[in-house]
Symmetry: D2
Amino acid sequence: MRRIDSAVVHEQNEQEFKFLQTDFNALGEKLSRDGIDIEAITKAAEAFQIAVPSWGTGTGGTRFARFPGQGEPRNIFEKVEDCAVINELSGCTDSISPHFPWDKVDDFSELKQHAAAFGLKWVSVNSNTFQDQPGQAVSYKYGSLSNTEKASRDLAIQHNLDCISYGQQLGAKSLTVWVGDGSNHPGQQHFQRAFERYLASAEQIYKGLPADWEMHLEHKMFEPAFYSTVIQDWGSSILAAMHLGPKCKSLVDLGHHAPNTNIEMIVARLIQFKKLGGFHFNDSKYGDDDLDSGSLQPYQQFLIFNELVDAEHRKEAEFNPAYMLDQSHNVTDPIESLVTSAIEVQRSYIKALLVNRDALYGYQEANDAIMASGELKRAFNFDVAPILAMARYRKGAAINPLKTYRAAKYRQSMAPVRPRDPKATGSGII
Amino acid sequence: MRRIDSAVVHEQNEQEFKFLQTDFNALGEKLSRDGIDIEAITKAAEAFQIAVPSWGTGTGGTRFARFPGQGEPRNIFEKVEDCAVINELSGCTDSISPHFPWDKVDDFSELKQHAAAFGLKWVSVNSNTFQDQPGQAVSYKYGSLSNTEKASRDLAIQHNLDCISYGQQLGAKSLTVWVGDGSNHPGQQHFQRAFERYLASAEQIYKGLPADWEMHLEHKMFEPAFYSTVIQDWGSSILAAMHLGPKCKSLVDLGHHAPNTNIEMIVARLIQFKKLGGFHFNDSKYGDDDLDSGSLQPYQQFLIFNELVDAEHRKEAEFNPAYMLDQSHNVTDPIESLVTSAIEVQRSYIKALLVNRDALYGYQEANDAIMASGELKRAFNFDVAPILAMARYRKGAAINPLKTYRAAKYRQSMAPVRPRDPKATGSGII
Amino acid sequence: MRRIDSAVVHEQNEQEFKFLQTDFNALGEKLSRDGIDIEAITKAAEAFQIAVPSWGTGTGGTRFARFPGQGEPRNIFEKVEDCAVINELSGCTDSISPHFPWDKVDDFSELKQHAAAFGLKWVSVNSNTFQDQPGQAVSYKYGSLSNTEKASRDLAIQHNLDCISYGQQLGAKSLTVWVGDGSNHPGQQHFQRAFERYLASAEQIYKGLPADWEMHLEHKMFEPAFYSTVIQDWGSSILAAMHLGPKCKSLVDLGHHAPNTNIEMIVARLIQFKKLGGFHFNDSKYGDDDLDSGSLQPYQQFLIFNELVDAEHRKEAEFNPAYMLDQSHNVTDPIESLVTSAIEVQRSYIKALLVNRDALYGYQEANDAIMASGELKRAFNFDVAPILAMARYRKGAAINPLKTYRAAKYRQSMAPVRPRDPKATGSGII
Amino acid sequence: MRRIDSAVVHEQNEQEFKFLQTDFNALGEKLSRDGIDIEAITKAAEAFQIAVPSWGTGTGGTRFARFPGQGEPRNIFEKVEDCAVINELSGCTDSISPHFPWDKVDDFSELKQHAAAFGLKWVSVNSNTFQDQPGQAVSYKYGSLSNTEKASRDLAIQHNLDCISYGQQLGAKSLTVWVGDGSNHPGQQHFQRAFERYLASAEQIYKGLPADWEMHLEHKMFEPAFYSTVIQDWGSSILAAMHLGPKCKSLVDLGHHAPNTNIEMIVARLIQFKKLGGFHFNDSKYGDDDLDSGSLQPYQQFLIFNELVDAEHRKEAEFNPAYMLDQSHNVTDPIESLVTSAIEVQRSYIKALLVNRDALYGYQEANDAIMASGELKRAFNFDVAPILAMARYRKGAAINPLKTYRAAKYRQSMAPVRPRDPKATGSGII
């Protein structure tokens, strides 16, 4: 089952293919001089997958306002449809990362089937204990897993256990836990006691983890708490993961760090200590801006993949990170942003594959900094667009995804089908 | 007319006064050794006023969630009532800064009277062109004063002119213009053309300014735009203010700067170039956190007042900045936070008055850095609480405002009077 | 033996004592209302000690320039003399933290006696593997403990073992290890291999540690390496300390963190995991500015001591951090800065003692954020200068240290005694 | 006259040319589909020039240490020789930016001839008032142009006038003024008075400017002053430039900004207000790290050139910025770093030329953020290495500069010719 007519994709691809083949051949010849087989790299591109977050398919917002677009999905079934579009165009997003209770349904087998019909599967379940739901018995206003009130902690623990259950029904294998717990005032929270409560609650969740599941802890410097956050950095995250056990690892969201932080080194540390669980990919300039992946700092994204590919190359033990996008799209069509971002992440991966690791190790041993730096830049400077496009073409996806998407007039077709709730407002929260 | 029974204040003050008098006398004796007359300083404390933002009286939120409290004001009339409480307790907040269209009413004279009955007046009108209002003809999604579409710019201009009109009816004398205009992607916006459109729109507003009004431009580094913002810093702000004319000045919000920025020096620059219009006071650690004033960086707040008092001392021309709070209260009772913040700002002002300016100038001329630094610290280290409390006492406000407020059980009494809209949700925007 | 004539101190103190007694009594009365015994607090102030870094007694510099002052100490014996002055004035700096090879002498027993004659002892030995010494066989240009070359690593290991030996002769009980190892270019260094080499080298040092010694690892975000640093944050530091063993802990330098970092929470985490080894106190606005402690962010310093006093209060196990100053004085007389800084750190400690911990815990449990925050501010706002001054007075130190120091004309008297090396230049390194 | 034997360059180029021609043709064909003439772009690459800073040819250092390399230039004549090497390899660095008094000679005509013999000319003279020179009558310890002492100010003014004179003798046409003036302690300096003194001093220099010269003011957030700096940001810089007159403009050093600052927008603002004087190119992660240009944030460098090329495209008035490198090389051979950096800057320029400006303007007008962003990325993702290499080849420079340089064994040949001063130490300043 498809959402974008194959004929439209085919027609668009026909217009592009001739030049793609020319460019692909030229690049292949160039890479072959370095002993790189473009077909092997293209295979790697075809195999690359990154999950789409269900919540990313709707227009996001800031605390100031939300400006919704037309034809937005109104529930998880419609979100799945948009995820199908994204995968049909990008060819590298065959899974969905759900968020509960937002994506809760009565019949998960129906939802699983709905996705499967589009060739989509489910990964990494996200719990939500940073919002109160209507009718909720106790509040998360003062925290969830680390709340001073046992009732709030218990509610948050149970919600995470429920998320595991939902995920099991969908076929997922990991739970991502991000909490906004923290404080806005010095003194509001006892740092140690709050962390102890967090750990005790997390133990309860960890106990409920199926044998083949992992639990990923996501750290964040600030927001929604503006003075302190319980899992504020990778230090607290890895200590918690070590405390909980081998099935618990750390998850890195690129926008959750202090200014100037060397994120690729944090990735390397987590790999070294067998605690890299996965990523939430996005880009940012100031805070947790949740901008399109690689849109601002493509070289940083490449350097992160340089670490990941290096770990693969070294056959690092217990290395199997999960890749997800996590973005908020305020001024673009979410489908266009998610397609673009998935390909940008894939681009970094492919470029990192082009690094000559033995040469690099040699420069590193010899402290030949300019050649080591140059080896990374050499790989980064390749224009690998033909490889990415060829991988898409071979998988039946779009050589030029945005052009194809617009030609298909998908969003316009959704406007009448998905009328906006007239009561839904665009007012932010200040 | 009062919102907090005088008897409650009186009763509470009676419990505190004896020790206050003791402490006041001890401090007076100590200050007199430095040639400082505590009575003159106390008079200055009594004269100090800072405006309360109408929107600050409700519980704020983040893009993730909002956790409303009980008995929150539901409209501008109820907000005025809470502002009255704040002034009755603090004795230093006799004015309200309104925000339109949030505070728009049919009959402004009724609103003015309502406030006047509590001894409150209106200052600094804030326009809002960062949200679309229900039924709005064109959108601010891609900007307001700098939008590429003339219709959106015209709407924003007209709204600002309307704000002036509302403000005139209320007796205000200045318009604060903050726009969220900017971009989330490199290339999305042409920096120069966007700024040119901003200036052209602002000229239209400036033309509509009554002769005795000022227009204040508020800069902000980021949020809601996460790649670029049109008025991103004091540089763009002062250039715009210089372009527009002498009635236009810059307004400083403490949370709107890059990490590590020396804000007190920006204040000094704006004073020097006759362009300091006013302040939005708050505190922050990471971004525009809108935390309680002085709650994190009291010494920075003192250093800002050191510049302000110095300008007063030097009788700097065209120096008459407007002081407003601008905070978002997510985990406290807004009244308690606003009372506390107003007094914290007042505290910085009073401490800055204790600096021996002639001594300081002498150290500065002699490059005696340790003594210059020490002179500021000497003033900062004084415990001026007795002065602040005595000023409140003499004005009929509360010696211990929070204790008095809680004794009055004001918030509890509002809960049944101001039932929450059952449709109002606490869901944030992600 | 003294460096500042007791008569001068006595004469100066006589001028100040009467008012000090008045202020002390007034404060005592005030504190007694809160159930606090000023005598107990003053005893705590008398007991408080912080070490002076030997290198801090000379004028520092930047990479651009150094502007030396007159009468600077030219060797460790003269530095000890200046440390004696600092302790005679401050009454709270009875120990010296040496730096090798800068402070290396042929006869350590002579040096120990020299210090002991002034009542000074030796603590926390600092090794230096970030500079090459004249005639050094191999270089630290590309790192020390993590260098790719075994010869450089071995040299660095041996130097640290030598430092332990020197420290043992002086009576010290801990070794502080800070390395500048890192890289300036992406790719220059293999993150994991560099950290593995660091750990292997550190193991060798740890093995050489006497039974009653501790080893403290100092992390730093950047400088002298500007892309990556091997021990870049508390995460890498605590993982290394955990790897090495119970005698290894982390040391916090306040200037070594990313912008906006909540340092007091890091302190709390290190306490919780029994890994807080000690502090290098200073202040900063931008980077490792090494400014006078508490000169810019006194409230942050207080919040750090709030954690330390809280840990004491809770009788936290294995809690015994070492306190040292670590500053560079470019525009002041180092003695004046070090005296001032020691007292500023002491001030934070004393204020933190005034927090009513039971009340605070109650507010924390009740999520009464404004009262919790207010309890910290209440303690911070006390003017504890009379307690600090009385503690100094009672120990024979100076009520007004800077005034006394200047009256003694110590620096002027050193100018002819310590003529500057005419070959020493003030040129920086760019 | 040459420093690298043409035969070596020729021999190396022969090995590379065949593949270069292949890649150049393939790229030319690809660009032609977008209507871009690769020959025109290659001409632009050939015309591109960026100045080399004389001081960059020596190994830099940090305040902690300096690790000099072999065969370093010991004076300005030897530095010119190394600049010749850089230009012979890169083909885009035909000018030198000198620094006084470091580069002061008795006979400037001899120096000018020396450079001319290598085809090098002189641009942008840099003054140095942040260091005291041996025997200097008064000190810059407390500032230069803004010093409280008239004698220090006068010395700094005269030095700048001398620099103009030296520059005239060398044929330069602009003076770059960077001062480290500022303070390390709150209160140390009166912000307004310091800026007034700065402006008054700068007026004296401006008066001495020849009719065809420009004066460029370089701002910097911090270092060597760590609390405040007189020209701390582009706001103070442009206000000073506006105050001084039309021949005074602002100069942007990429490493001199607050964390997260959008530098490309500052560039756009300076262009708009006719005040962009020039650049000091380098890269940085934390502060003024002075790393190799484009080595960390190549996309940011591209975005800056996007603004510059856009201004050219729009034929913006008074737009003629000067391009200089300004880096400190601590772990590489300075020649290798400077060659690499010059080419990286050139790369950004060439990529920016590939942006389809009319298409971009269309997307901007239509608020089509994803297409606007994509247009920039499209240009950035091109691998323009063949254009850069062909431009070098056609000018007789090296297709592969580093390989050619190493083949020529230039540095090794300098080691015996330029023996290191045995008294020169590698000790830093802490």
